[in-house]
Symmetry: C2
Subunit: 334 residues, 2 copies
């Protein structure tokens, strides 16, 4: 049962880390990574921001973290880092830097051993599947591990009960993803055929969903498809960016289930009135059976992210521009 071992291993890793949390005074969490790995962390910050009155959270790009050198970084800090293959130099350096300041460091990686884990106190190995494919173990996917750690932290420190609800909900993520994939398969093809020649596509979201919009903009559209983009915050939209909108400018709007949904609803009304090239992905249309009601706002971004990857696969196909194509990354020095 190789697959079961993968889950057991990750769950055991998390349990050891929660034990370490118990033994240590912690008042600050730094989420540190680059690009797509950083975008994963926004929902966990949203959770801590909302739910804790004693622990504060920050998200920093790895090199910004090192050079900014936050004055509050110290022995009562928890630094959670992520790098898919554990080889992102800035993130490894950030782990060493944080450890040097006395912080507790936890590394997330897909691979087993890598420089990042060597520089970190603890490691969790997450499960992963390529864009649009069903991960056999989404309950230990990167987003899920981040929530296990952040909800686990507030559980052991403040008695927050969402951690148990999370564990129950994650068991159903595989069926939620499978249903979402079937639900959006045709729509994604249609979208890709219609928008394959666009030069610019904006994304928009707020709250727990903003990181997903950011990830789609910088990793899928800019990096993998060479389409101009920006992830616009749905609240900021009305204070500058909305002037760029007309009927020819494509927008992808994410609508989640968290407390900031009114911001996304306001953006929707405006986009519908003045735009025509809209893709609206609304988590209210997902079948979230098995996900605890109280957790739906927090877990919606995971489903939105999965569905967007279904769209990414179709977009790449329609554009004849494979998601793996790069001109610089891992090809030239930088």
């Amino acid at each position: 049962m190789m697959q079961t071992n993968v889950v057991t291993k990750a769950e055991t890793q998390v349990e050891h880390i929660l034990e370490a949390f118990k033994e240590r005074a912690l008042d600050r969490v730094f989420f540190v990574a680059c690009g797509g790995s950083s975008a994963l962390m926004y929902p966990s910050k949203y959770f801590i921001d909302r739910e804790s009155s004693s622990i504060t959270a920050e998200v920093y790009s790895s090199n910004e973290f090192i050079h900014r050198s936050p004055g509050t970084l110290g022995p009562s800090s928890l630094v959670i880092l992520c790098s898919h293959k554990g080889k992102t130099p800035e993130t490894t350096q950030a782990a060493a830097f944080a450890k040097g300041k006395g912080a507790l460091t936890v590394a997330l990686m897909y691979v087993g051993e890598a420089p990042l884990s060597e520089e970190s106190d603890f490691t969790v190995n997450y499960s992963w599947a390529p864009a649009g494919q069903l991960d056999p173990h989404p309950e230990i996917m990167n987003y899920a591990i981040l929530y296990r750690l952040s909800m686990g932290l507030l559980y052991v420190k403040e008695g927050n009960t969402k951690y148990q609800k999370l564990l129950g909900s994650l068991e159903h993520l595989d069926t939620v993803f499978a249903k979402a994939k079937a639900q959006y398969a045709e729509a994604a093809k249609t979208y890709a055929a219609q928008y394959k020649d666009e030069k610019v596509i904006y994304t928009m979201a707020s709250g727990a969903n903003y990181g997903v919009a950011y990830s789609f903009a910088i990793c899928i559209l800019m990096e993998m498809q060479w389409i101009h983009s920006q992830a616009i915050h749905a609240g900021e939209f009305f204070h500058g960016p909305f002037e760029i909108l007309d009927k020819d400018v494509p927008f992808v709007l994410l609508m989640g289930l968290d407390e900031t949904r009114p911001l996304e609803e306001r953006a929707l009304t405006f986009l519908k009135q003045y735009g025509e090239k809209l893709l609206v992905l609304d988590a209210e249309h997902f079948d979230l059976t098995g996900i605890d009601e109280e957790l739906r706002g927090y877990l919606a971004p995971l489903v939105l992210n999965f569905v967007l990857r279904v769209y990414a696969v179709e977009l790449a196909e329609a554009r004849k521009h494979p998601l793996e194509t790069r001109r610089y990354m891992f090809k030239v020095p930088y």
Copy 2:
């Protein structure tokens, strides 16, 4: 002496606020505003992040702040808000929301009286001049007031000595701006003539300067010129966004004097190798006589922002698209 009274008024307002800081336990600062007014606050967060070991700082767009409803918001929070005319509904609501949570609220406005000040404990009226014009009182411009408050906070709470250095440095800001305007007048015209037909222009920066890049992207390029843009963080650039670069894609890179300059230097090397349409504004080329050496990293964004406004004026002129033109803002309901 109308003009002197304006300065005296603002300085007296700040002094009263610093007295209030002394009388109150404060461990968290929330900078809350929308769009360009929010972008102003990034350097002050950078300052507090770097220099304080006991006070943490956040920047939130006003509606995100209200709906996210941070768990740490309470009587030991300082909430600093800004709205140019004091009428931004979300920001006024954010002030009322913060006050309801027991926080100390300070409003920055250009105008004297407005809804925002009515909902806030304290108000500071800053000085302002249109893009590219010399403000007779830059020592009380919006950025300067934000630094007076944040450096003043760490002065009264932690004995940080940068506040005195700030006051001395701000006296010289008028001559620094005047010299920068003369220095870049011709270059701005040349740039505008060369790039007036671009459909997309990216901006990039890190650390204390990122907010200036954000402001130029969303307020000048998108809002006032209807040019597609995104403010790319110079550290994030190499983890996705850089794949969009080729010789035909214009970038504006800001290079500051703060501790994150190595990130901007790395971006410069790459932009020079693979791009051709580059505008690099480097604070090392500014004449900063009178600005304390220790403050130059913090004050460079103010000068970068001023110089970018000189470019904005020329760009608008060359494009025959006045900076005041809007299709939605203050014209249609939203």
